[in-house]
């Protein structure tokens, strides 16, 4: 089944490269991969899993803080959660999410309600998109390993 493994490996390589090229991931994700080894083979997947849990929690906080029905919006509260999300997305290499957080933070500082709501919607879509993409990537890895192959190291230029 060598042809099968080779094909999977090529798929994996192409897919990974596309994630970087489309701006989903940046070199911090590459840094995380450096921290993975035989002793901790699922390190990247586990950190990303924690990150996505963080997304759910923080986006929930932002939504609540932007809820006008509870009174006036506290933009500093929104901003605090955005700041946290910006930090963790930066730490895992989630480039698009991080970029959105930068914009989001500016809207918070400007106390621009519509801008904040838009960013909230976008960041929600963005983290979910990334989650799906990464799940596909991790599945390819799994398939390669199950077929008896080795997950290739992908060099991003």
């Amino acid at each position: 089944m060598n042809a099968g493994i080779a094909q999977l490996q090529m798929q994996f390589r192409d897919y990974t490269i596309s994630l970087y090229q489309q701006g989903f991931l940046d070199d911090q994700f590459t840094e995380l991969k450096k921290l993975q080894d035989d002793g901790s083979p699922d390190f990247v997947a586990e950190v990303l899993s924690l990150f996505f849990e963080d997304c759910v929690k923080l986006i929930g906080n932002m939504a609540r803080a932007l809820d006008k029905s509870t009174g006036t919006v506290d933009f500093s509260q929104v901003g605090a959660s955005v700041h946290q999300l910006k930090g963790s997305s930066s730490s895992v290499g989630a480039k698009r999410v991080k970029g959105l957080c930068v914009t989001f933070k500016e809207y918070c500082e400007a106390q621009n309600y519509e801008g904040c709501v838009r960013c909230l919607q976008q960041v929600d879509i963005e983290y979910k998109t990334l989650k799906t993409k990464l799940q596909d990537m991790f599945n390819l890895e799994k398939q390669i390993v199950q077929a008896g192959g080795v997950v290739p190291q992908v060099d991003i230029d």
Binding site: Q28, E31, L32, K34, L35, D37, G39, S40, P41, D42, F43, E46, V47, L50, F51, D54, H83, Q84, K86, G87, S88, S90, S91, V92, G93
Partner: protein, 241 residues
């Protein structure tokens, strides 16, 4: 509170586990390894920094706030910390922006203490603000790391640490005390015991903590002043990359 001896660190270990994944300590007798106290309110960042440090052969205690860091160091009350002679902390690395107590405030408290003022403190921040960096350096911070932290950054930190991962004189003494019948045999250290993993992470690294082969003293930092972390920050803020 329990007696202020090894019992306290046991108590704290269980306390620390309650705050989240990633708190891991080797038994205090394992004094050959570099011990780093990492402080960050973000769980994701804590996991990453802990892994970065462990990969560079450090023993790591990760806590989620300045207050807990002080608690761990025994600086949270004003009692004299003689009981903490055995608590070896070789480096403290802390996030700057944290709710409650900032990294800067934590830095000040550490530098004010008698027991830990000599311990190098490194500040991490996602923001490259010169005034912030200056403040921290003036207060005695050893270095300032821009987040996201990379493996190369952590490897460079090892150069601050006087303690290296090697056989120490203490280690030899311990061996002799333990086994007097081997008094005349050549002094060798047996590999330190495997760190007992009480972490909830199933993927926790189980590599042996033997120092052989893990001395990653790859000096990434050149001695040129241009390359020093402080200069690098200055150059970055001037737009010179």
């Amino acid at each position: 509170m329990a007696a202020r001896d090894g019992g306290v660190s046991c108590l704290r270990r269980t306390e620390m586990i309650g705050i989240g994944i990633g708190e891991l300590e080797s038994p205090p007798s394992d004094s050959d390894q570099v011990h780093v106290l990492a402080v960050d309110d973000s769980l994701v960042d804590r996991i990453v920094i802990e892994r970065l440090l462990r990969i560079t052969s450090c023993k790591v205690t990760a806590v989620d706030s300045g207050w807990r860091a002080l608690q761990f160091l025994g600086l949270d009350d004003d009692k004299a910390s003689v009981e903490f002679d055995r608590l070896k902390v070789d480096l403290i690395i802390t996030d700057y922006c944290m709710p409650g107590m900032t990294g800067y405030e934590l830095l000040k408290k550490i530098k004010e203490s008698t027991s830990f003022r000599e311990v190098p403190v490194v500040i991490m921040s996602s923001e490259n603000v010169m005034t912030r960096i200056d403040r921290c350096l003036e207060e005695g911070a050893e270095d300032f790391l821009l987040k996201p932290v990379k493996l190369a950054d952590v490897k460079r930190l090892r150069s601050y640490l006087t303690r290296d991962v090697k056989v120490s004189a203490d280690g030899n003494k311990r061996k002799l005390v333990e086994d007097l019948s081997n008094f005349s045999s050549p002094v060798t250290t047996s590999p330190p015991p495997l760190s007992t993993s009480t972490s909830m992470e199933s993927s926790e690294s189980t590599r042996p903590s033997s120092p052989v082969g893990f001395i990653s003293s790859s000096p990434e930092s050149s001695t040129s002043p241009v390359d020093s972390p402080i200069r690098r920050r200055e150059m970055k803020s001037l737009g010179l990359d």
